[in-house]
Amino acid sequence: MTEPLLVVEGLEVEFATDRGWVQVLDGVSFTVGRGETVGLVGESGSGKTVTSLAVLGLLPAESSRITAGSIRLDGRELVGLPRRRMEALRGDELSMIFQEPMTSLDPAFRVGDQIAEVVRRHRGGSKRAAWARAVEVLSTVGIPHAERRARSYPHEFSGGMRQRVMIAMALSCEPKLVIADEPTTALDVTIQAQVLDLLRAMRDEFGTAVVFVTHDLGVVADICDRAVVMYAGQVVERAGVDALYEHPRHPYTEALLSAMPQLTARSGRLATIPGSTPPAGAMPPGCRFHPRCGHGVDACRDTAVAEHPLAEGGTSRCLRVSDLALKGSA
């Protein structure tokens, strides 16, 4: 059997702080198959963005380091790849869409030129051909009058349209993998739905695998095949989306699901998860979630928990995985 498109194995990342190097990712492992959409889910500070930047090789060189683990794309090891080789892969084989469409495009260049620059970087060819390709992808992502709009500057687009431009740029060289980091968070709800539809359509058209980074489990249900739930720099649960919603196997997933607003239950307060993610460098011993967990026992406090493989596939990083019956979402 051939390897999945993206394999992340035992990834450990440290950041430089005033107190020295502090670990922010601890043994992160997951895979993404060809054309598959995987949700990377967690609160702020869970390590999901650090994970995606590590995959792209975009972690700040001076203040961070990968201390262990492996990231393989299509069988090729990316950890330790020389800078120039990594640059050549980015935008060509894998690419990223960011959260802030308002600030993520260069205000000083026409959008068509920005896309054409990426195309020429990876595909070569004439300026004219690259421009034609830019117009083509802009039109594919649903920019009306793409021929004319390619000549516009970013400030002449609305937020939703700019996000479409970002998607067009990321897909211009038909990468095998796109990481979308909260691509809809900064947008209006109606625009969010449009952008999600677009990402789905692009995935189907280009066969691109998508890693969808989000804190919104509703979006994951909407678009993803599988989910990887992260907490405090660790993967706590991996499961297919349906299984995750019906039978979460980690208390943190259960808590995230119960924190989702439900249209059917209008009364009462919205559920929250008590406490907050521990800061890097001050992780509690034992299970990292135990101070906020409603199911904790004494053993959770001092035993570091490994990922338990589950019979139905997937993993859970919970000591009580075999004796807990957790509540799914209705």
């Binding site: 792209l56 975009l58 800078r83 120039r84 640059e87 050549a88 892969l89 980015r90 935008g91 060509d92 690419s95 990223m96 960011f98 802030e100 600030t103 993520s104 495009l105 260069d106 205000p107 000083a108 260049f109 620059e117 990426v118 970087r121 990876h122 500057y153 400030h155 970002m166 740029m169 990321a170």
Partner: protein
């Protein structure tokens, strides 16, 4: 962009009127009667009266201004009180020297400042950055007449590579012309280089932390393209502003540097005119200097429109 340009050019007209009023008021502000100054200390009452009449000093102020401004518009700035040389002619003769000196200084400044600023921004906190910052502080602090004298001692006297003083017109050979500009150019350009380095370092550091730089990197653009295309163009607005200011500084600084290096430029002419109280000459030089500064500001503003497309709508 065309509308922006036209609007910006039209905005210069009221400014020019204000400048001309200020320059004209110079005559009125000088203590004492200019007619006495001009006619000389031993002139008789009749001679002074005649002088006053000849200069139109008996007319109402507005009439005097209209006459002067009208002539100025046609390029006639009057004639020197001492040599009877036409002011326009004197300025035209000196202007190429000052222009060459200013351009040489700016060229040298940019050749130093752009690499230094980029390296400092990319190697922030390391020795390259510290070196550039040190250069910036020292360069701004050194008085340029002193730098000029040191350079003459080193590279004209001890090691006679460049001429110590004097100006060779470009018509007598480009090589000799350029050689004569090296030392004054360095002298005048050092402080400008220091200022631009400082500005570029700060501006580029900010720009490189912007989200769109991350986007460019995420799409595989080389580090070089990211910094030199996307970084520099976005970092340029405050830097170009400083460059514009520095042209004013260069015009002022050339007064001293032209003296040190014996260059027959506008600065040298200005000093002589001030010492002799040659009022038409002073007026002419101030008008021309103001015009240069305004044109430089125009160029700076137009470059904003190119660098930052949002400005064009404003």
């Amino acid at each position: 962009m065309l509308r922006y340009t036209v609007r910006r050019v039209l905005m210069m007209v009221p400014l020019l009127v204000l400048v001309s009023l200020g320059v004209f008021a110079l005559v009125l502000m000088i203590p004492g009667d200019p007619a006495i100054t001009i006619a000389g200390e031993n002139a008789t009452e009749a001679q002074i009266d005649a002088t006053r009449e000849r200069l139109g000093l008996n007319d109402p102020v507005l009439v005097q201004y209209a006459a002067w401004a009208g002539h100025a518009l046609t390029g006639d700035l009057g004639s020197s009180l001492f040599s009877n040389e036409s002011v326009t002619g004197a300025i035209a003769g000196r202007f190429p020297v000052t222009l060459a000196l200013t351009l040489a200084a700016m060229l040298i400044a940019l050749l130093i400042a752009v690499p230094a600023g980029v390296v400092a921004a990319l190697r922030r906190g390391r020795w390259q950055d510290r070196g550039a910052t040190l250069f910036a502080s020292v360069g701004i602090s050194l008085p340029n007449f002193w730098v000029g004298i040191l350079l003459i001692m080193a590279f004209a006297l001890a090691f006679p590579i460049f001429p110590a003083v004097g100006y060779t017109p470009i018509s007598e050979g480009v090589g000799a012309w350029a050689r004569g500009l090296v030392l004054p150019g360095i002298t005048l350009g050092t402080a400008v280089a220091a200022e631009i380095t400082r500005q570029l370092r700060g501006s580029l550091t900010d720009t490189l932390q912007q989200d769109f730089i991350r986007t460019a990197r995420a799409n595989g653009l080389s580090a070089r393209a990211v910094v030199l295309r996307h970084g520099l163009k976005n970092a340029a607005v405050p830097v170009v502003t400083v460059i514009g200011f520095q042209v004013g500084f260069l015009l002022g600084g050339s007064v001293i540097v032209e003296r040190v290096f014996g260059l027959p430029g506008l600065g040298d002419l200005a000093i002589r005119a001030v010492l002799q109280r040659d009022i038409p000459m002073i007026q002419g030089i101030v008008v021309v200097a103001a015009l240069i500064v305004m044109l430089v500001n125009l160029a700076v503003d137009l470059s904003y429109g190119w660098l930052n497309p949002k400005v064009r709508q404003a």
